[in-house]
Subunit: 441 residues, 2 copies
């Protein structure tokens, strides 16, 4: 041992809240690597407690000493130097995190919902009590993205972040693309394989990605951007026809978390988008995540890795634990989270994009001209039209021949585009079904 840190031998006390997939993997990393982690920290490290509502389940992990399993989470929070919060959700996680902070413990959490909703309250409490809050695992699983945003890029100005940050939806879209499945089948398949939860709405409706978008935007723009500020579209309306049309155009559909800074302000949005199949994000498959960052001096950066799963998430959690334990061993403290900028949210009108709109229509003479003229009346110019594809879906209440009409616009503003689509859907020959997808370069 050449490590010459603080000679004190008092162990740094670590408490773990939650013993599910990530919690048990975190406990295993800490216990099995204890000696190595201590050498990195320069002080002994001790897992003093594992709080869970289901002690019997926690006891099945041989690396967790049964005698430290407890159901009294609040009491455990008060007898630790570092509290690892892996309960998830808003309450009681928020209360326990605040209890830990008020008791002088630093907090490591993987809880994206908590940080995206209550970040400012928690950051302020940590600052007030002189403790740290780390949450690398909250975005992108094992991928180091929080630390680069907080520290590596602290000398630069970030303009744009574009990420695939939800493995469940990425897996579903992948299965739809490679196997030609419809959404429901791909979802059931993902559920059967454990990639999607029984209630998949948090993933497929985009809220999980939205939490991550809020966190990344807050750190990148030094402005408090809450989950409530994020506009969210999920993938539930994507059909096998949308995928087939994308494939025919050498594009793929990906659910993106996009954080943007422009003259109009900042924005954080989640939406499915068409991206060229040559784009590096297009080849991010299955449950992998990837985040692109564009900064003024650094230019393009990409971070790629496993976005979920017990071991990858635990890697990020324990990395934070070691970072914080080193601070404690050295009597120092980590960086706070400055939100000095308070940039305005960009108004929705400022959101401009090219769009691909897919209508399902009864092929009647003049219908294309009628639809195109609605676009023209609102000043939206059309970049491409495709009326070849037969839909695979069967609209209820319609008999006879249905066709798909797919229009790709030039850059236009989203509000006008949505107005045009609503207007077109009023036509007798147009069914109520329409998909709107952004088209990225």
């Amino acid at each position: 041992m050449t490590n010459t840190n603080t000679p004190t031998n008092t162990p740094i006390r670590v408490a773990l809240l939650g013993a599910g997939t990530v919690g048990s993997a975190t406990a295993r990393l800490i216990v099995e690597q204890q000696e190595e982690l201590e050498a990195r920290i320069g002080r002994p490290l001790q897992l003093v407690g594992v709080a869970t509502l289901n002690p019997d389940s926690a006891k099945k992990y041989p690396w967790i000493d049964p005698s430290i399993i407890t159901t009294d989470t609040a009491a455990l929070c008060k007898r630790a130097d570092i509290v690892i919060e892996l309960i998830g959700g808003l309450e009681p996680a928020r209360t326990f995190v605040l209890t830990a902070i008020e008791s002088g413990a630093s907090v490591v959490t993987a809880n994206k919902a908590l940080i995206a909703k209550h970040g400012p309250e928690i950051f302020a409490a940590a600052k007030q009590h002189g403790v740290d809050i780390y949450f690398e695992a909250a975005v992108g699983g094992a991928i180091p993205i929080i630390r680069p945003l907080r520290e590596s890029l602290a000398g630069d100005r970030i303009d744009n972040i574009m990420g695939i940050v939800n493995g469940t939806t990425n897996y579903i879209l992948d299965e739809m693309t490679t196997k030609g499945l419809d959404f429901d089948t791909a979802l059931r398949d993902a559920q059967a394989k454990g990639y999607a939860e029984a209630d998949p709405s948090g993933d497929v409706e985009g809220y999980d990605a939205a939490n991550k978008a809020a966190i990344m935007a807050t750190l990148a723009f030094h402005t408090n951007i809450s989950i409530d500020d994020v506009s969210v579209e999920g993938i539930t309306s994507i059909t096998a026809d949308d995928i087939a049309a994308a494939t025919a155009e050498h594009k793929v559909i990906k659910l993106l978390a996009v954080c943007d800074r422009s003259e109009a302000g900042v924005s954080a949005r989640v939406y499915p988008a068409l991206i060229p199949d040559t784009h590096p994000l297009a080849s991010v498959r299955g449950s992998f995540n990837a985040v692109f960052v564009k900064a003024q001096a650094a230019d393009d950066l990409m971070f790629y890795g496993r976005g979920a799963g017990g071991d990858p998430t635990a890697s990020a959690v324990v990395g934070d634990v070691v970072t914080e334990a080193r601070h404690i061993a050295q009597g120092s403290i980590g960086p706070d989270i400055p939100m000095y900028a308070q940039l305005p949210m960009a108004p929705v009108e400022a959101s401009r994009s090219a769009f691909a709109v897919r209508f399902v229509i009864h092929d009647k003479p003049g219908i294309l001209a009628a639809i195109a003229s609605v676009f023209a009346q609102h000043g939206i110019s059309i970049n491409g039209v495709n009326q070849d594809l037969k839909p695979t879906l069967h609209e209820p209440g319609y008999s006879g021949e249905l066709q798909q009409l797919r229009l790709v616009t030039h850059l236009c503003d989203e509000i006008t585009l949505r107005k045009v689509v609503e207007e077109v859907k009023q036509f007798d020959a147009v069914t109520g079904d329409a998909t709107i997808l952004r088209v990225m370069d």
Copy 2:
């Protein structure tokens, strides 16, 4: 301003050593973003001096106050809280860095040669004097890779790192691949475009990448691995024929920095290798860099971005400056660099790989059988043979028809392979020219 850091208004004094491409870009980021950086830090920041041997050249940058330009580097080191060393090379950079540390200043450097050679001395001095040393820009330019290795992955165990960390060689290999150029032409082209230096040896012979391999291996394996421990092969012997043969096999040749931990010990090596054109590293083009990391819990991670250039490197430098300035503002200190493990270097015999060997031969009856039997005698089995390709080179001293014989082996140890190649080169019908390339999966 909602920042509530230490209320002191004493500016944190920053000194810049070197005013070349990276130095001038660093000064610009600090000066032009001063207000924003101060908000992130919570204290005023002041560029108190720019040391250069060429003051007239530094004066051409309008963002550098001419009154702070100095040629007395040692004196400047003693009146700063943070010294940014961008001189490069071993001396006098080492002396100035130690002067700064002994004067109580923390150091930010982009100097890979200095850290790879004198890291332990500098880290020990910093620890002794209670200051920090940051060097994110020393590997991979703008790409955050040092901080992830030091902190994000501190709770995990890294098994392997494989990186494209030299943009000059990557650009040259790219030009050879896409334009069919030979090495000398591609090098001259790179020099004309400013991607290669007048004396290109540090890049093309692999030493630049070797410094980066030493730094990454030291951080990943918690073991002091110096530049002197790195085995290095450059790309000067790669011919247009090697590239053509690789292309025919749907492979590309990349110069890789490879850090590996196995039962036999650790290793850090730089060599050109054949990788499948579907591998994510294969699509890293031109001056971009990318680093793959394989860790036991995190699994595969990739970091990608601009590996050189004034602005990208300055982004990494100023990120370190902000990190250190926050420590100073909070009265805290950054993590040290634990080298507790002291793992042995793996012996060369432990290096096993598949190899592609290209001989230039006179096509005589029985020559293939004779060569193949040398491989067989040494227990190396052959995975594939190709004798179709005509060489484009003309060996001096040989007239008549030359052919290329290309053999791809199964896994074998490197020492035996090199012995076999030397033996084969003794044959009358074999010219002295042979290329040995590792084949990666």
